[in-house]
């Protein structure tokens, strides 16, 4: 099927080592401010607990294993958190970071909020609907998709079978959100993805 993991990963900026290195350099530059580092102490290797370059390599390898979709999802939501939070420093637990990233643009808000809810769902696998308030947990993620991403019909199943979070469809969704957020941030940070052209024009036209 064309909508396979390898096809979609190959379409994303994560498939480009140059793009990953460029994004890692920018992320390191942003994190260096928070950690008070400069010069030789401000490299991606020293400052980033996870890097785009190494994460992408892991995604390529893990993606070959049919049962590793949840591992791919976890890597993607954590990378998404790094992309969304590096500029200001913080945690993607609440929606402040999402609002800051969206800047009033609803399309950006949708992608970031979906990623945040998926992050919360994936990182809290024991959360149950009866004990969790607010936007933590698999049901919250599922409800968000049902009202905002109609094609993700698998979200309905998540409400009764949380084990479906480990399906490939979820990791494909996470990949799409991280790809979107990465392109938006590259545009915002003026990061050049050498040899890559954004699919379409992400800039607003006045």
């Amino acid at each position: 099927m064309a909508d396979s993991w390898s096809t979609k990963l190959a379409q994303s900026w994560l498939a480009s080592p140059g793009a990953c290195l460029a994004m890692d350099a920018k992320l390191a530059q942003l994190m260096a401010v928070h950690w008070g580092r400069r010069g030789a102490g401000a490299t991606a290797q020293l400052l980033l607990p996870m890097r785009c370059e190494t994460t992408a390599a892991s995604l390529i390898e893990l993606g070959k294993q049919p049962d590793a979709a949840m591992s791919c999802t976890l890597l993607l939501v954590m990378l998404g958190e790094l992309l969304l939070c590096a500029e200001h420093g913080g945690i993607l637990r609440d929606d402040v970071m999402v609002e800051r990233f969206a800047g009033g643009i609803v399309e950006r808000w949708l992608a970031a909020e979906a990623l945040r809810r998926l992050r919360n769902a994936a990182c809290h696998p024991a959360a149950v609907v009866t004990s969790v308030k607010g936007d933590v947990g698999i049901v919250s993620f599922a409800n968000f998709l049902i009202t905002n991403f109609k094609r993700e019909s698998w979200a309905r199943g998540l409400r009764t079978q949380p084990g479906l979070l480990a399906n490939r469809a979820v990791s494909l969704f996470a990949l799409r959100m991280v790809n979107s957020i990465g392109w938006w941030q590259a545009d915002h940070w003026d990061v050049r993805f050498a040899g890559l052209k954004p699919p379409g024009n992400p800039r607003a036209v006045s």
Binding site: E99, V106, E107, A111, K150, R151, M177, P199, P202, A204
Partner: protein, 148 residues
């Protein structure tokens, strides 16, 4: 983020003339009958019809179940619009009520985007559902006959 109503009056979540349907990606089988709720919607240009061989329409997306016009800023967010950016073949099948049959398939491609100032051609209420600072995505739907 709350989607603000453009007026203090209660507004419908849907545009009056929007057409619901289902998006299918490359090689995705189209079932003999629709399964589940519609997965998308479009707004045909006034004066055109799904009975035409080709129509222009705006792509509509739900935000908290309130349907808005997709802007170019949002093309990365959805799988059909992302896929089309990579020249994937996506098919829109309107709900059975539109043509009295299922599945009537339309191949979707990007048409020239519409400037906010020109959105009125799609109806008076459309501007309130679209971004004022970005081009609106316009799709060309071509009816697929005899397998293509």
């Amino acid at each position: 983020m709350q989607v603000a109503s453009p007026s203090p009056l209660k507004v419908d979540p849907e545009l009056r003339d929007q057409v619901f349907g289902y998006w299918f990606g490359p090689d995705e089988p189209i079932p003999d009958r629709p399964i589940g709720p519609p997965t998308g919607a479009v707004l045909p240009r006034p004066g055109s019809s799904f009975r035409d061989a080709e129509i222009l329409c705006l792509d509509l997306v739900p935000v908290e179940n309130y349907w808005l016009v997709l802007s170019e800023l949002g093309r990365y967010t959805y799988d059909h619009t992302t896929g089309m950016l990579y020249d994937e073949e996506w098919v829109f099948v309107p709900v059975r009520e539109v043509l009295g049959a299922w599945p009537v398939r339309f191949a979707a491609t990007y048409a020239e985007s519409v400037a906010p100032s020109a959105l009125a051609r799609y109806g008076a209420e459309v501007s309130a559902r679209a971004r004022p600072d970005a081009l609106a995505v316009q799709l060309r739907l071509r009816r697929i006959t005899n397998g293509r």
